[in-house]
Symmetry: C2
Subunit: 231 residues, 2 copies
């Protein structure tokens, strides 16, 4: 099985593996880490939305709302996109409508794959097991930050390729693997220079950062089905 890495949404159209593949949507800080945390906390389903405008309609349907823009919780949503906040709540049976700056957009962009999964360090081992079981060409779709490259998603892509043991397809996959070799001893420390780490620290979201680099804190594999993430 080949594994390719799209470094940002702006590069998705230029990937080699375009049909009959598994897609893994990644936004380590924090959207996909938070999705894993939501299911770990008992959530029933998460509906990823690219626009805040659609949130009120979901509230009328009984959904709880989670929304973030530029690192901060949005207005009247019950939740932002903090995984450690999710884990402090009992979300059993909850249906969540979810919109973030980058990550939910990435999940929706990945929806044209045969199978769309959500990936983070939080579910690394469970996700790698699932990918090995599927044994299909795989594209890891990194979110970056507003279409720009980011270190943390790329590191995770490298970690996932290593863990799955597939064939890296294309230069971005090789780079991600090599960067991971450099950082794997302590990925959290390596990413202290990452722009979004510095941004979240300024915003006071420091607790989420080391959490997002811990592996296997939320051993679930969210799957996109009919516009909803379920496990």
């Amino acid at each position: 099985m080949r594994i390719e890495v799209s470094l940002t949404p702006a590069l998705y159209p230029f990937r080699t593996i375009a049909s009959h593949h598994v897609a893994v949507a990644v936004d380590i800080l924090r959207a996909t880490t938070a999705v894993c945390a939501a299911f770990q906390a008992g959530c029933e389903c998460v509906v990823p939305l690219d626009s805040l405008e659609n949130l009120p309609a979901y509230r009328k349907l009984g959904y709880a709302l989670a929304a973030e823009r530029n690192g901060s919780k949005v207005g009247d949503a019950e939740y932002g996109n903090s995984p450690t906040e999710y884990l402090r709540h009992d979300m059993r049976g909850m249906r969540l409508a979810y919109s973030t700056t980058n990550g939910t957009v990435t999940i929706l962009r990945a929806a044209d794959a045969d199978l769309t999964l959500v990936g983070a360090f939080a579910n690394l081992s469970a996700l790698a097991d699932r990918l090995r079981m599927e044994d299909k060409d795989t594209v890891i779709l990194c979110s970056g930050w507003k279409n720009a490259f980011c270190l943390e998603d790329t590191l995770f892509a490298g970690a996932l390729i290593e863990r799955v043991g597939g064939d890296p397809c294309g230069d971005a996959a090789h780079m991600a693997l090599d960067l991971w070799q450099l950082a794997k001893g302590d990925p959290f420390s390596y990413c202290r220079k990452a722009e979004h780490v510095l941004r979240l620290e300024r915003l006071g979201a420091s607790a989420d950062i080391p959490f997002a680099f811990q592996t296997d804190t939320c051993p679930v594999v969210p799957v996109l089905k009919d516009g909803k993430l379920i496990v």
Copy 2:
């Protein structure tokens, strides 16, 4: 001075440094290495063109034509984009109209900067000296391959940041620097896994590959002025 890296043309619109900057256009294999070689061989000027259609008009004006698509020389052009081929010719006084798959497009995209330079390992030291003299925010524009990420341009970006000693701006610059630390002992060997290296080897252009990773073979700094590259 800050130095930012755009990893492919598709990511140029999302860079941080957008105004009042120096741009360095990079396509190590082979367009910008070949531009340096053309001047080293005596060329008077090189006109970068994004389309093959404009070439015949330049022939009527007395220009020699150099054109490449997908790694191979195009039809009736005198030259392709092989730097080692250029260096075998006496190009003194020659005006060259030049169109390649990626590199000339990148040079033209970089034209909105206050100063647009051409960079390659071939002119690394001379270019770094010039950038230090300018002492302005700098964006290194990598060509990649048809908007996809490539290893060799990214490595060069890391090498240039290291040599100039500016402040890496953004995650891509940090990644490029770290990748360069990993590969600098032998960048040619490191890039044996790069897609475009494999492509050029299939096409029989093997001599250009080690040449393109040698530093300071062509100590010139091509500058874009009124649509023409000059030194």
